[in-house]
Amino acid sequence: MSIDVFAPDQAPARTDLPFLRHRARPRPPVARAAAGSAGLDLSAPAPAARPPAARPAESSAGLALSRPVARPAAGSASLDLSTPPPAAAPAAGPAAAPAPGRPARRQPVRPLPRARSGERTLLTPKAPTITLTRLQSGVGVLTIEAACSAAVGDLRIGAAYQLADGHSSLVSRTGGITAAPRDSRRPVILARADRYERLLIDLRQNRQLERLVVFAFSESGGQLNWSGTLVTSTAGGGRVELPLDRPASPGVMVLLSIFNVHGEFVVRAEMETIAGPIRAAVQAYGFDRISWLDDRTPVA
């Protein structure tokens, strides 16, 4: 078939590319026939094939088989001949239909460690990473809390973040920056504290968040007796726990990173002590677009 590249509106519909499909602006009722892939469910044991790239409307001329308007639970009886016939492959009669079925499911290449909702998952040196589901990464608020006793010292937490628009900075109660972006009417991240210090991520805006690195430090710059647990909680009651037991040290410890990978948050234990200020720690994690006032404060 020849395709006139200057008349895209007359080109045959590409039913094999549903993810590129766009509803057209209103126009004369001819355009979108049937949208292809009618999973004909002619009978319970042998549903018809999903034609991969049928061209609606044009190839269907002499086809007697037509689509039931909707599937009755059982039985192929109710063929409705008044519907415009879809371009199912002629061979796809009930007898010739291959494997019953639901369409092939998307499978991850390898199984990812997942956080069970309502349960706790421990991050360890051997299993430092966990991937939140799209629901865990998109519903409610993700809370990251440093459950540490006074014995640890004057531990404070903060985070360096990068947003989808490229904006990158810090959020930390210690520096007085309790929202990200700073002074935003609609913050993506908030720094709060009641019993413990914690960070809240608004998952309604999860698409704005590219990555986040959580660090802990001593407010006075002294030594910390590392212990306690960093707890990341989902709206569904999933808890990802990271033990903070390490030899006592000064400086900054990078605890946890979160990367937004196509809508799924990948949470990773870092647990790396950096002998230096916050600035050095977050620079070590690639945050090189932050302008600094001093070693622990970004400029506004």
């Binding site: 509803r23 999973g39 519907t83 629901l135 608004d202």
Partner: protein
């Protein structure tokens, strides 16, 4: 265009035999409470005959724009006056899907307590996917709300070989957690 009350239904494919696809549009008016809209989420749940979600992957919302069969998809950018739109390829919906339920909830947890009672207006409309023509719309579902934080707006469901549409408008005071529990979804 017809306005439908809560509980009423219409036999979509019986009345329009060549209907192959739908657009489910949700529009709202938050009145002076502009920030409310920042926290509203529309989701579509594909359910079996027992009104339970087929899986967590059958919860279609802004962070999961389609489901495994890709016949129900939420648009990143709604066309026209709706705040959110969901496209349904009716004729291609897998047989195990009995109901397609549209819900609205407030994403909570960042502090300020809000509720759907602050909405001035909330309407679910059904359009023909082929030509964007509005088929029916619900009455204003916001007028009976008070402290609710989630609501089932309406559903498209199979009935004796046809697809029907029903306006529901039932609120939840327990937010998305209550919705998830009812529909068997793991948050």
């Amino acid at each position: 265009m017809a306005t439908m009350k809560r509980g009423s239904n219409v036999a979509l494919t019986r009345e329009i035999p060549d209907l192959t696809g739908l657009v489910l549009g949700v529009r709202w008016d938050t009145g002076p409470e502009k920030a409310l809209a920042d926290h509203l989420v529309v989701a579509t749940i594909l359910c079996d005959e027992h009104s339970k979600a087929l899986s967590d992957e059958h919860f279609v919302f802004f962070n999961q724009l389609s489901e495994p069969s890709m016949t129900v998809s939420q648009l990143e950018q709604a066309m026209g006056p709706d705040a959110e739109q969901i496209e349904v390829q009716l004729t291609a919906v897998p047989a195990e899907v009995s109901r397609i339920v549209v819900v609205l909830y407030l994403n909570e947890g960042m502090g300020l307590r809000r509720s759907l009672g602050q909405l001035r207006e909330c309407v679910l409309r059904v359009l023909n996917l082929a030509d964007n023509a509005e088929l029916v719309r619900s009455e204003n579902l916001a007028d009976s709300l008070d402290g609710e934080t989630a609501m089932t707006l309406g559903e498209v469901y199979r009935h004796q070989g046809d697809w029907k549409f029903k306006v529901i408008g039932e609120g939840y005071s327990t937010g998305v957690a209550g919705l998830a529990k009812d529909y068997g979804i793991t948050l």
